[in-house]
Every structure is written in C-alpha cells, then in structure tokens.
C-alpha cells in the first residue's frame, strides 16, 4: 500500500517539477512549482515526518509561491513573448543525474527496507528546539529578521531629490 502511494507521489512530484522547469508560460510554471511542493509534503508524510511536511506546505505554498507569483506580476514588461528554453543546458543535469545514480546503485548499504520507527512527535521537536538546538534557532531568527529588512530596503523606491 505504501509502495503504491510512494510510486504515485514520486511520479506526480517529478512530473510537476519537469513542468515547472520546461513550461513556456511563467504563471503555469509557478503553479506547477506549488503542486511539486504538495507532492514533496506528501512524501514527507509517508516517511513519518509530519511536522516537516506541514511546515513545507505552510512556508512554500503559502508564502514562497505567493511571493513568486507577485514578483512575476510586478516584472511583467513583455508577457506576450514566450520565454525561451535552452535545451543545451540539459547536458550538465543529465550528467549529474547519471553520476548520482551510479553512486547510489553502487553503494550496497543503502538498499535497505525501512525499519519500524515511531513518527517523531511535535512535542519532541519542540523539546529539541529549545534544548539542543536553541543556538541554531536564534541564528535562524536573526537571519530571517535580516532577510526581512534587507528585502524591504531592496524594494524601497529611491527618493527623487
């Protein structure tokens, strides 16, 4: 059962990713980008990391995808022209994929079935965030504040003196 679900979810994710990479119209690509993240979240749910899946939906679909579509809207100078796609750029990704697949298939120790574990609870993540991982938490907070201020300054209109 979970194998069938895994196959369906992976196919959906990869199809959406390919659509996001190759569709000529920008808005369709942005929307299939959101569908791809839905697929990735489903994969996380399947693997037992429910909190990460929910955070993924929240941040990526709720915030990053909305940011991207707003930016597309604000930089829409020549929407009629179809954006070109350069198939020559496909050489390196195919090579990278080939190399990674060779490395994965060559390592015998990764062909293992999943062991039985309890899914990690939100309470455990909260405990860890407040005890062992409190320094990364503070740093990420500072990073997000800096990014917020930086993004605001970047898009502020210059004063015409």
């Amino acid at each position: 059962m979970s194998n069938a679900a895994f196959v369906i979810i992976s196919i959906l994710t990869l199809a959406a990713a390919l659509a996001a990479a190759t569709l000529p119209k920008l808005m369709h690509a942005a929307l299939s980008f959101a569908v791809m993240f839905l697929g990735i979240s489903a994969l996380f749910f399947l693997l037992g990391a429910e909190f990460v899946g929910l955070v993924q939906i929240f941040i990526y679909i709720g915030a990053v995808a909305v940011l991207i579509v707003f930016t597309i809207l604000l930089t829409r100078h020549d929407l009629g022209k179809v954006r070109g796609f350069n198939w020559g750029g496909g050489v390196v990704p195919v090579a990278v994929f080939g190399g990674l697949m060779w490395a994965i298939l060559k390592t015998k120790s990764v062909s293992i079935p999943p062991p039985h574990i309890q899914p990690v609870t939100v309470q455990r993540i909260g405990e860890l965030l407040m005890t062992s991982y409190v320094w990364p938490l503070m740093c990420v907070g500072v990073l997000l504040t800096t990014a917020l201020i930086g993004a605001l300054i970047l898009v502020l209109e210059e004063k015409r003196e």
Binding site: M1, M27, H28, L31, A34, E50, F51, L54, V55, I57, F58, I61, G62, A63, A65, V66, V69, F70, L73, P119, T121, V122, Q123
Partner: protein, 377 residues
Amino acid sequence: MTGHASGWLLQAFSSLINIGALLGVFLTLFALISVLERKILGRMQNRYGPNRVGPFGLFQPVADGIKMLIKEDIVPARADKAVHFLAPIIIAAVAILSLGVIPYGRNMTPFVIDGGILFFFAVGSATELAVFMAGWGSNNKFSMLGAMRAIAQMISYELPLIITVLPVVMIVGSLNPDKIVAAQGAYSFSVLPHWFVLTPWGAAAFILFFVSGLVESNRTPFDVPEGESEIVAGHMTEYSGFKYATFFLAEYMGMFAVSGLAVTLFLGGWHAPMSILEFIPSYVWFFLKLSILLFVYIWLRGTLPRTRVDQIMNFAWKFMLPMAFTCVIAAAVWHYTGRALQGWLWSFAVIAAVYVTLSMLLETKKKFAPRTYRFAE
C-alpha cells in the same frame, strides 16, 4: 479480504465514512445558514427574509441551487482556461479540508493528526494562492486588483490569527486539537468550566482570533474583496453560475472552519458549561456553540459598515499584532504566577497596560473622537 490486506481497506472505508459524514453535515449546514442568514438580516432590517419557498422559506437553498446550476457558464475569451477553472475548486477544497481536524464531539474528530492546528493553518494558507489564480486567470484588471487587495488583507491577518493561537498551544503543550479540548474539561466548584475564554489572556485572544477569522473569510465589515459598490466582485467578477456558487460555498466553509476552531481552542470544544449538564450529547454542545458564533457573524454583517482597505491594514499591523504578542506574554505570566487569582490579576494587568499604551500611541482619542460639524453661518 484476508487479514493481511484488510488493514488498509478498513482504513480506507473508515476514512470514506468520515468524509461522507463531514460533507453531509456541513453541506446541509451551509444550505441552512445561507437561508437563515438572509432571514436574520431581513429581521434586523425590519423586513421578512425569503419566505415563499417551503415552510418559512426554508427550501430557498434548493431554489438557489437550481438557479446556479442552470446558469450559463461564461468564461472570458482571453482568460487562461486551466487556471480559471482550477481556482474555485482549490479554494473550496482547501476550505473543506480544514474542517477535518476539528473535534466535533467525544471521539468524533474525523482525522486525528498530531499537528492538527498546524495542518489547519497550513491548508488555509493555500487559499491565498487560489485567490491569486482566480484574479489572474480572469484576464481582467479589476479582478487582478481585487485579488491583490484580498491577498494583502489575508496575509496581514494571518499573523494575528496564528499568534493568538500560540498562548493556547503554550498552556496545553500540544498541537493536537483533542488534547486542547481535553485540557478544558475540568470544572471549578462543578459550575465554572475551565474554558480558556474565561481567563484574561484567553478572552483577549478569543476576541482577536474571532476578528482575524472574520477578515480571513472576507466577511463584512472586512469584505473589501467582494464589495459590490467598489470593485464589482473583485477576484470573483468573471465567474458565473456554478463556479460563483463554489466561491460562495468556500466562504461559508471557511466561516465554519474558523468558528469551529474558535470553539475548540477557547470555548471548551464539546464540553458542557456545567458538570450537571453533561448528559446532553457532546456534539449538541459543539453545534450549539458553533451556532452562537455564526449568529454573531451574521449580526456583525447586519450592523457594521464596510471598512476601508487602508484602515484594515493599519488595524492589523498597528493594533492586532502587538495585542497578539501581549496575549502570549500574559498567558506566560498567568502560568508562572500560579493559575489562581494572583495569575488572573497579573495577566489582566499586563493586557490592560499594553492596551492603554497602544491607544495612547495610536492617538485613538484624537482620531476616533465623535465627528464635529461646522455649518456655514
């Protein structure tokens, strides 16, 4: 069905029963509320509501449904067909999905997820993308403008919505709605329930959550996205017939979901107000509290005028966000000074202090004073 394969089949069937029950109850409630709202609004405006179809007009939703279904489905010629088609579907799907984690009674939560509250908000945040799709897919400048205003309003109020939930999660220690309801189950002197709305931080958080929920579901007084006199119908302009009915459905489902969550988080879920009244079934109490909240929604719609969009934004960022953070601090104060009378007084003092400071800083006395008139002499 062998014992090995029946595991997932059983799970699939039980999920289907859950989903069927949920859809049945809430679609009926939607039909009922759509006609009751018009009747209540009518009574508030000193007239009868719809009373022609059926006894007291209660079959009006059937007539409305037939009307919506037989209307011609007009799609603009240069609209993006796929995006235009998918937008109402996604909005309605997301609204109904968020109904699945609310506990409706003892052992009556459709889907128990460990991070249930986070699921609710994560799924609700996909509404913004769908609103944008609706506005952009219509190929209409007014739709686009309406969609941008709607998204700005929704994003601004998402923050107070989530931060006011934080005190409850902090005090209970879990994101599971079942545990949150269970934490409100005790009674003091068997008359006073331990609902979170009866604490100072809980009352403030409930009011803030309720107002943010009003804004998130685009209801009057915050219905700028669908204000007819301003922007035709905003992002829903180019939708006719059944698709418009789907938007309408999504708005009401959003209302149900936010009210249901407010009942779960603050009003004690399916618990009775007094321990002697516990013989009445738990779902009756839940739907009674839900109905009271929905009545308040309709009451506000009939009473308050629409606010301007910049007033909405100001209100969110300058008032509700600081007050939401204050609720978190007040809850912590309540917890750490003992959850007794002393805790009450201290947390009430914290909230009152911040409220007074905010009103002084925002110059409410000057800006919201009664209007004075100067007549020509």
